[in-house]
């Protein structure tokens, strides 16, 4: 068993920590995750109408936040281009449904979304990382990526419907013996719920895997990892490709759920929102990013109607505080609270 290895220090002090304490800390994260997913699971038992309609979209925003969390919180690469992948996935499904059709078109569309997301991210990633383009430079390139995506989506109206957007119907996914139609809100809710859960588990698995640990080491000290024999450019490229692929599939599901895609979905504004969600939720824990994505979307929806000016202002201030002074984000801070309190007592 390697449980003793690969554990995390708890708190700032240089003191040895016992495994039991760590386990308590670990389970805090898992408990929150379980509570979140159980709560999401039971939402349709207690609420009808709008919440059931809109929560799946927010869950997909949460998945988008997960993809950025992998890059930023674990790989140390901030991407201001996640929305571009989301939009590319959305258009991929839309175009496939429109131009190919047939019962397998939904799967083809999702596959195309995945493929485009992975390939595009891999190509861009390898192109940049192999020349050691990183940090702020990488941010700028991803910023350009979302700018270009939006401009092209606006302009290539033959393909994308341009500025006026593209309609995407609710698909029916054939699963061998049963067909699952997303036409009903309830079915759409649980399909997207399952996808979100799957993505969360996938990212937690990545975190646990050797790949995830090496990725963190690259964030901490890329030169060291390289000098230990890791092809760090390859690791970063893979992380970027995974993140791009998942973001694109989430985007495709968003398209069919929302029924409509327009170029702003791939733009800088939406991309930067994702950064804000992850920063405020907490970039060092996937659950923080997920809650950030879902929670801030819910708050934006409710508060924007009431106090639009002040809500945006508050969000900006929270972002500054989270990035500069409060790097664990809200969820991260809550997760690390028990450990910190214990170490204070100790």
């Amino acid at each position: 068993m390697d449980t003793e290895v690969g554990t995390r220090p708890d708190g700032q002090e240089a003191r040895p920590t016992r495994a039991g304490r760590l386990r308590a800390l670990l389970s805090a994260e898992n408990v929150i995750a379980v509570v979140l997913f159980v709560a999401l699971f039971y939402v349709p038992y207690f609420l009808v109408g709008f919440p059931v309609y809109v929560l799946p979209q927010y869950m997909l925003f949460g998945v988008l936040a997960l993809t950025l969390c992998l890059l930023w919180g674990f790989g140390g690469m901030v991407s201001f281009g996640q929305a571009a992948f989301f939009a590319i996935g959305a258009y991929a499904l839309g175009v496939t449904l429109r131009d190919v059709g047939g019962p397998t078109a939904p799967w083809l569309g999702l596959l195309l979304a995945l493929g485009l997301g992975v390939v595009l991210a891999a190509v861009i990633g390898w192109f940049l990382f192999s020349a050691d383009v990183r940090d702020s430079y990488f941010v700028l390139v991803t910023l350009a990526l979302s700018t270009i995506t939006q401009v092209l989506a606006n302009s290539e109206s033959q393909l994308t419907g341009g500025f006026n957007g593209m309609f995407v119907e609710r698909v029916t996914l054939p699963f061998g013996v049963v067909d699952v139609s997303l036409a009903g809100d309830l079915a759409a809710y649980y399909v997207i719920f399952a996808f979100t859960l799957l993505c969360y588990l996938l990212f937690r698995y990545i975190q646990w895997s050797a790949f995830g640990r090496v990725l963190v080491s690259i964030r901490e000290n890329e030169d060291r990892s390289r000098a230990l024999g890791y092809n760090t450019a390859l690791y970063k490229t893979v992380a970027f490709a995974v993140s791009g692929g998942v973001a694109a599939v989430a985007g495709a599901l968003y398209a069919t759920d929302a029924g409509f895609v327009s170029p702003t979905l791939g733009g800088v504004l939406f991309s930067t929102s994702v950064v804000v969600w992850v920063a405020i939720g907490g970039r060092h824990y996937f659950i923080g990013a997920l809650i950030g994505g879902i929670g801030i979307s819910i708050l934006s929806q409710t508060l924007n109607a009431r106090i639009p000016e002040y809500w945006q202002l508050l969000l900006g201030l929270l972002f500054v505080v989270a990035v500069g002074f409060f790097r664990r984000g809200i969820v991260g801070t809550i997760l690390e609270l028990p450990g910190r309190m214990r170490s204070r007592r100790g």
Binding site: V78, F127, L128, A131, D132, V133, D135, S136, Y137, V139, L140, V141, L143, A144, T147, I148, V151, L152, N154, S155, V268, T272, V275, V276, A279, E309, Q312, L313, L315, G316, L317, F319, V320, V323, G324
Partner: protein, 284 residues
């Protein structure tokens, strides 16, 4: 011939206007290594301050000065309150300055509202340069841009202060030995960068729509201009980068659709970054 001259003029003015907008960014990035994503909000703030002054009956040139000073002070306050804690973390400063952008843009909306504003052109009329026409005001701000670039170059390469500042870029410890008060120097550089943004915002205000988000127009363009131009090559780099981003768009647009021109130029910028991460004129 006429056409060549007029295209040339377009390239030059486009380049110089972009250089003017990017100079503050270049100074801050080149000297203290902060990618100031809040630059766009500073431009907008400069434009709004100038607009307010002109509407109070203050002559435009004075309004520009007021905007320069006001935004410089805002930059100074931001530096003192936040940025100075993060100089060693380029990543954090980039993100925090993005937060600054979000906050200031919202504040502008609260203070000035969201209506579109405009400033009258202070120098209507045109002049002819060898057959090709150019607006007086465009000519003047192009000249101001050239003058500012020259002045920056002179300060950096011909004065004591410039030597100290450049020493600081090269080696912070050595600069300390030369008696440079680094924190104060950093603070001044950041404030000067902000003031330049305010100046640029006020100067371009008569040619552009004054609105809270006006900075987003320039966001990606000016960053690329600065970064592609080159790390540490503040004046030359900004000029070359602006030429590539601003000028090349003009040239490409001659042969192709505007969308294509803009896309190609961004793609070229990314490729340039890939093969010369320190920028075209940059040095490590």
């Amino acid at each position: 011939m006429d056409r060549v001259l007029s295209v040339l003029l377009d390239v030059v003015t486009s380049t110089l206007v972009l250089a003017l907008v990017s100079l503050g960014l270049a100074v801050v990035f080149g000297l203290v290594r902060v990618i100031n994503m809040g630059h766009g909000a500073m431009l907008a703030l400069g434009a709004y301050v100038a607009w307010t002054c002109v509407n109070r009956g203050i002559p435009f040139p004075v309004a520009v000065l007021v905007a320069t000073v006001a935004v410089g002070i805002v930059g100074l306050v931001f530096e003192v309150l936040v940025i100075r804690h993060f100089y060693e973390q380029p990543f954090e400063t980039l993100l925090i300055s993005w937060g600054f952008y979000l906050v200031v843009t919202e504040l502008i909306k609260l203070v000035w509202g969201t209506d579109l504003r405009s400033l009258p052109n202070p120098l209507p009329g045109t002049l002819s340069v060898g057959g090709a026409g150019i607006g007086n005001y465009v000519a003047v701000i192009s000249l101001i841009s050239a003058a500012l670039l020259t002045a920056t170059a002179l300060v950096l390469y011909r004065t004591d202060l410039g030597v100290k500042v450049r020493a600081m870029i090269q080696n912070r410890d050595m600069a300390l030995m030369l008696g440079v008060n680094a924190p104060r120097m950093y603070r001044s550089v950041f404030a000067v960068g902000a003031a330049l943004a305010g100046l640029a915002g006020a100067l371009i205000a008569p040619m552009f729509s004054i609105e809270p988000d006006m900075g987003t127009l320039w966001l990606v363009r000016s960053f690329f201009a600065v970064i592609v131009g080159g790390l540490g090559a503040i004046v030359g780099g900004t000029l070359v980068g602006s030429g590539l981003i601003g000028g090349a768009t003009v040239v490409f647009a001659l042969f192709s659709k505007q969308v294509f021109a803009q896309t190609v130029v961004f793609a070229l910028a990314v490729i340039a970054l890939r093969f010369r991460p320190v920028g075209i004129l940059g040095r490590r």
